[in-house]
């Protein structure tokens, strides 16, 4: 037999969801909708704290097992407490906090972004091997055309014709395709939301 708490969970979720949804269409409920969304944001902040504690515990376990990569878990712990310490003492907008962000977070993320460019080039070549076919050739051919139309070629400079082709591809073809995909995404999102509102999907346990 299921716990009564699961039923209460479901009831709270469904009623809250319905009030927020109706609040978008009925102006009289807009105030309650705003209030509930503010509560959701506050709860999300607490969930973030829970998530961070969970992350630290997972890495503490990894350190305890002294297995491959355990040193990175130690680095994560040290970096976490240094960051918390600096931001607590200096404030989130303080020069030391910003410096910490500028000299560590931004360079690391920029490096990963650069790595991503190489990774995508490799993935495109792998795609030719994995799914060689008309659509794969069109996909890669289009990507090359857009690249050539975007970046000037060494020693040649910009080729205006390729620039025009690129503008047409990104302004007409890709926009039309993207709208078709977004239509499917929007309908899927509505269907998923309705299933949660009807209590069919219960990601909150039950």
């Amino acid at each position: 037999m299921k716990s009564p708490f699961l039923l209460i969970n479901a009831l709270i979720a469904i009623v809250t969801g319905v009030v927020v949804l109706v609040g978008y269409f009925v102006p009289q409920l807009a105030g309650i909708r705003e209030l509930l969304l503010q509560w959701a944001v506050i709860l999300a902040a607490f969930a973030l704290l829970v998530g961070v504690v969970n992350l630290l515990m997972v890495h503490l376990k990894k350190m305890g097992k002294v297995k491959k990569g355990g040193i990175y878990s130690l680095i994560l712990w040290v970096a976490f407490f240094i960051t918390v310490g600096v931001v607590a003492l200096d404030g989130p907008d303080g020069s030391k906090s910003v410096l910490l962000f500028d000299i560590i977070q931004i360079p690391v993320e920029a490096s990963l972004m650069a790595l991503l460019a190489v990774t995508l080039a490799v993935a495109s070549i792998r795609l030719l091997r994995r799914r060689a076919g008309l659509f794969t050739y069109i996909f890669i051919g289009t990507a090359l055309l857009v690249l050539l139309g975007t970046a000037p070629l060494y020693g040649i400079g910009e080729i205006s014709f390729l620039g025009q082709v690129r503008t047409w591809i990104t302004g007409v073809l890709s926009v039309a395709g993207a709208r078709g995909i977004l239509l499917g995404v929007a309908l899927g999102t509505v269907a998923t939301g309705i299933r949660v509102l009807m209590g069919v999907d219960r990601p909150y346990g039950g």
Binding site: L55, A178, I181, G184, V185, L187, G188, T192, V196
Partner: protein
């Protein structure tokens, strides 16, 4: 509220009510038929087989839920990811290595733990539940990816399911999966992420295919009914768009 906003609100309510009505109608009329009449989506066929193989081989399934929270448009794909996590947790509950979930948002991390615990409880294997299996791996796009890559590389993962809100950074996750020669089934609600996945994922899910996960993984007749309702309304919207374009062409709009 001006009259244009009022018309918009009424249309919105009608759209939602029609959607609900169609879902209930298809649920009532199609309960015994389940997925037999749905078109084949190879990604889900391979995923089902791969989860079974992972259980037999004692390897792990990794579900990555992206960075979408539950407030806003990304919530849809995040909820689908949780629904897929539920199905996989049930299917792999008897495995020596239960599934692991990573996410880039606090609420999703907490919900992933809750979903796994509920799934194990429902199949009477709650002792298998490990809170560490639902992890927050990072809060910015690249820190999230950097946190999820070690899971793919070091935790004997044979199948990666990436369903949620991802940008182009998802390419690094698929590359890590390629290095380990594990299966990647991936879909996102972001256009940039989808473009990357078409090239980089072994089994990409495009557009609405992401949202069909529950129906194809046996989450119940209501999921199949909602899929059918989506199909009907998509054709209605296509008709409205074409009529609008025609009306504009002949000068009626």
């Amino acid at each position: 509220m001006n009259w244009l906003e009022a018309i918009g609100s009424v249309m919105g309510i009608i759209f939602i009510l029609v959607f609900v009505g169609l879902m209930v109608l298809f649920f009532a009329t199609g309960r015994g038929r389940t997925v037999r009449n749905l078109r084949d989506i190879p990604a889900y066929t391979r995923l089902r087989r791969s989860v079974g193989l992972a259980v037999e081989a004692g390897t792990r399934v990794h579900v990555s839920l992206g960075r979408g929270g539950l407030v806003g448009l990304p919530a849809g794909s995040a909820l689908v990811g949780l629904s897929i996590l539920d199905r996989i947790s049930r299917a792999a509950s008897s495995s020596d290595r239960p599934p692991v979930a990573t996410s880039g948002e606090g609420v999703l991390a907490v919900l992933s733990q809750d979903v796994m615990r509920t799934a194990y409880r429902n199949v009477n294997t709650e002792e298998q539940y490990d809170p560490g299996a639902g992890r927050l791996s990072g809060l910015t796009p690249f820190s999230y990816v950097a946190g999820a890559i070690p899971v793919i590389l070091d935790e004997q993962v044979s199948t990666n399911v990436l369903v949620g809100n991802f940008g182009s950074e998802v390419g690094l996750l698929t590359e890590a999966s390629e290095q380990k020669e594990s299966l990647t089934v991936a879909g996102t609600d972001q256009i940039s992420g989808q473009a990357v996945l078409v090239a980089a994922a072994q089994e990409p899910l495009i557009g609405e295919e992401v949202y069909a996960g529950g129906a194809y993984l046996g989450a119940g007749a209501f999921h199949v009914a909602s899929l059918r309702a989506q199909d009907v309304l998509r054709w209605v919207l296509i008709a409205v768009i074409l009529l609008g374009a025609f009306a504009k062409l002949v000068g009626l709009l």
